[in-house]
């Protein structure tokens, strides 16, 4: 796929259809891949990469890139295409300045999951269709099935379909029947005390680095309330459990109805907090209470929180269901 992408990018550059390419750039050790803008065929040949580790969602970069001079070619995976379409819906990107090439995705490998298997000192990684083979300085040669080391978001993939593109490289996939809400349901089934203990433990690890916020393609405010000195909540550090909860509730709430469940927040969290479980709770609730809704699936429908119906349920429904008082 990488070769096909480079070839197509070079064609489009040469034809003048675009003047730059947004993609992924190789790093020092196979897996440390950085999003980058390429402007020439040489750069593409030298540095462009697309493999099991090109996990970063490029849509957010298009907010800025699409405002620049000329058309930019962006390679979007299914997840990224949902985020991009949501940004179009919110008028955050200039669609006409972006040429989108959709690319299929079979899931991305989480290096942390590999390392959690005790693999360290990685010197090389080889990838086949359904496995990765890792070589280490300890003269090991370890083969792991991809399925076992995918990101959580890929294990519970919601859609392999690129929802918006100018052209598709390879075959577009379909929306997948996923079990992504199972983890949320499991938490809902706990008692409040258990849930409280669970989240206290998770959120107490937060170091307030803002990676979850800054990577989120839905978090595109010019000035975040948590950076606004006049908001009274701009503190740079989660000084206690209250501020941890406050930050994460508001962060998730602010993208509720707009979150496409791309899973970037959990991917980047240096403290491994399962932030997607907060976002998914909102999605699950809204699906159940206001009808199925997938952010980014289209550009017309109104997101549930900026919509209403006369016969919506009352907020007290929250305390009536579940039954785990």
């Amino acid at each position: 796929m990488q070769d096909k992408m480079i070839a197509r990018a070079k064609e489009l550059l040469r034809d003048g259809a675009v003047n730059r390419v947004l993609g992924w750039k190789t790093g020092e050790f196979v897996y440390d891949i950085t999003p980058a803008v390429f402007t020439s065929a040489e750069e593409l040949d030298r540095d462009f990469v697309f493999d099991a580790f090109t996990a970063a969602n490029l849509s957010k970069y298009l907010v800025k890139e699409s405002k620049k001079e000329g058309k930019v070619l962006a390679f979007l995976k299914p997840c990224d295409s949902y985020s991009f379409q949501q940004l179009i819906k919110e008028h955050r990107v200039d669609r006409e300045n972006v040429y989108i090439v959709g690319i299929p995705c079979e899931g991305k490998v989480d290096i942390e999951a590999l390392k959690a298997r005790g693999i360290s000192g990685i010197t090389a990684i080889e990838e086949t269709a359904d496995a990765v083979t890792v070589k280490t300085v300890y003269d090991e040669d370890i083969t792991v099935a991809k399925q076992d080391v995918l990101f959580e978001r890929c294990v519970n993939c919601k859609s392999k379909k690129v929802v918006i593109c100018d052209e598709m490289l390879g075959e577009n996939g379909e929306i997948v029947d996923s079990d992504r809400f199972d983890a949320v349901a499991k938490l809902e089934a706990m008692t409040p005390d258990e849930r409280f203990a669970f989240w206290q433990n998770e959120l107490s690890r937060c170091i307030r680095c803002n990676a979850c916020r800054n990577v989120c393609p839905a978090c595109t405010c010019e000035k975040c309330v948590f950076d606004n000195v006049n908001s009274g909540v701009e503190h740079k550090v989660a000084a206690n459990s209250f501020e941890e909860s406050l930050f994460h509730i508001i962060r998730a709430y602010h993208v509720a109805g707009r979150c496409t469940d791309c899973g970037e927040c959990s991917r980047v969290c240096p403290q491994h907090i399962p932030l997607h479980l907060l976002n998914r709770k909102f999605i699950k609730d809204m699906n159940e209470l206001y009808g199925e809704y997938q952010a980014g699936a289209d550009t017309e429908t109104r997101p549930p929180l900026v919509n209403f119906s006369m016969d919506d349920c009352e907020p007290s429904i929250v305390y009536q269901r579940g039954g785990n008082a």
């Binding site: 950085t34 360290s120 990676a211 240096p270």
Partner: protein
């Protein structure tokens, strides 16, 4: 050098904990963290803790003092709590060196008494590495992962813990566990060090050389055209700063509790847009400038002010944690190319 069978490790911890608060790296939620020793707590098998050890001396947040205003009267109350003696066990060579770098900042005149107080009460027991990771590059800064510094240094080899005191504090620590220790000639340690050093030489970043940065002067690095490309993907989050053992920038803020105003200090990141924001404007408006500041500070400004010592210890945390995998090694390599 002294020796202790690993079967006795719990006794070793127990006896230290009987004298002073003891922190050891242990596994929690799939990562290693420093935790106060409790009966039966196991030492992690992981190379290093998820967060750095700088919290022990420079915590992410700490209260400085309280202010109370009553009409025109103001009351200033120093609220710091007395610091007890404590021991941090199992600090890796890179993190031990980070304390020396923080010392250069906080113990320089005028001394930061909050930091100094903790530093004086803390005993650092290092632990030699045996299984370095690909993200490690401490050797680029002259750090020997097989021979860590610290008040006392430890090695784990052939089912035994070897320990050697380097300072008076280290000697005091050994006195807590004297009955558990036997003399050793350290041959097992030497053999293990040899093995570790061979592994270190094979690491992918083994040949990263930061000294090349010094060949070019400050303004040439500052004006390098490379910064634009390096910083273009930067999200402006503070991950690299907050996992870094040597980042020391802080903010002083206040929290109004309703009954008083608490002045506290907390880690800050030069990557944040409001770091240099003032009432009349911002001196670093773009992420390029902020990104450049972080690396210029570590690789150029800090050595300029501190006899050539870089503000980095090669622990590799930022390499592993950056959401977009941009890091100090890539920056160094890019700037180096420009020199050639």
């Amino acid at each position: 050098m002294y020796q202790l069978s690993l079967d006795n490790l719990q006794n070793f911890f127990r006896q230290i904990a009987a004298h002073e608060k003891l922190y050891i790296p242990t596994d929690k939620d799939n990562v290693a963290v420093y935790a106060e020793y409790a009966e039966g707590m196991q030492l992690t098998q992981k190379l290093n803790t998820n967060r750095s050890a700088k919290d022990f001396f420079f915590p992410q947040t700490e209260n400085l003092y309280d202010l109370r205003m009553n009409g025109k009267n103001l009351e200033i109350e120093d609220t710091r709590e007395a610091c007890e003696d404590f021991v941090v066990f199992g600090v890796r060579a890179c993190d031990v060196r980070s304390f020396a770098i923080l010392d250069k900042v906080f113990l320089a005149d005028p001394v930061d008494s909050y930091y100094k107080n903790r530093r004086e009460h803390g005993t650092v027991v290092s632990l030699a590495c045996t299984r370095p990771e690909e993200t490690c590059f401490c050797q680029s800064f002259g750090i020997d992962a097989a021979a860590p510094e610290g008040d006392a240094a430890c090695w784990i080899a052939d089912g035994s813990l070897y320990i050697k005191a380097n300072t008076e504090k280290g000697e005091t620590l050994l006195s807590y566990v004297a009955d558990l220790l036997t003399e050793s000639d350290g041959s097992a340690v030497a053999a293990q060090q040899e093995k570790t050093r061979q592994l270190l030489a094979k690491l992918p970043l083994a040949n990263t050389d930061f000294e090349g940065m010094k060949k070019t002067d400050l303004m040439a690095h500052f004006k390098s055209p490379k910064w634009a490309g390096l910083s273009e993907a930067c999200l402006g989050c503070g991950t690299c700063t907050f996992v870094c053992p040597t980042c020391q920038c802080y903010d002083i803020r206040e929290f109004d509790t309703g009954s008083c105003v608490k002045k506290f200090r907390c880690w800050d990141s030069c990557m944040y847009s409001d770091f240099t924001l003032m009432a009349h404007g911002n001196s670093r408006n773009s992420q390029l400038e902020r990104f450049r500041q972080r690396f210029m500070h570590k690789l150029v400004y800090f050595p300029d002010n501190n006899d050539g010592v870089f503000g980095c210890v090669g622990c590799g945390r930022c390499l592993a944690k950056c959401p977009i995998s941009m890091n100090i090694v890539k920056v160094e390599k890019a700037l180096e190319v420009q020199d050639a």
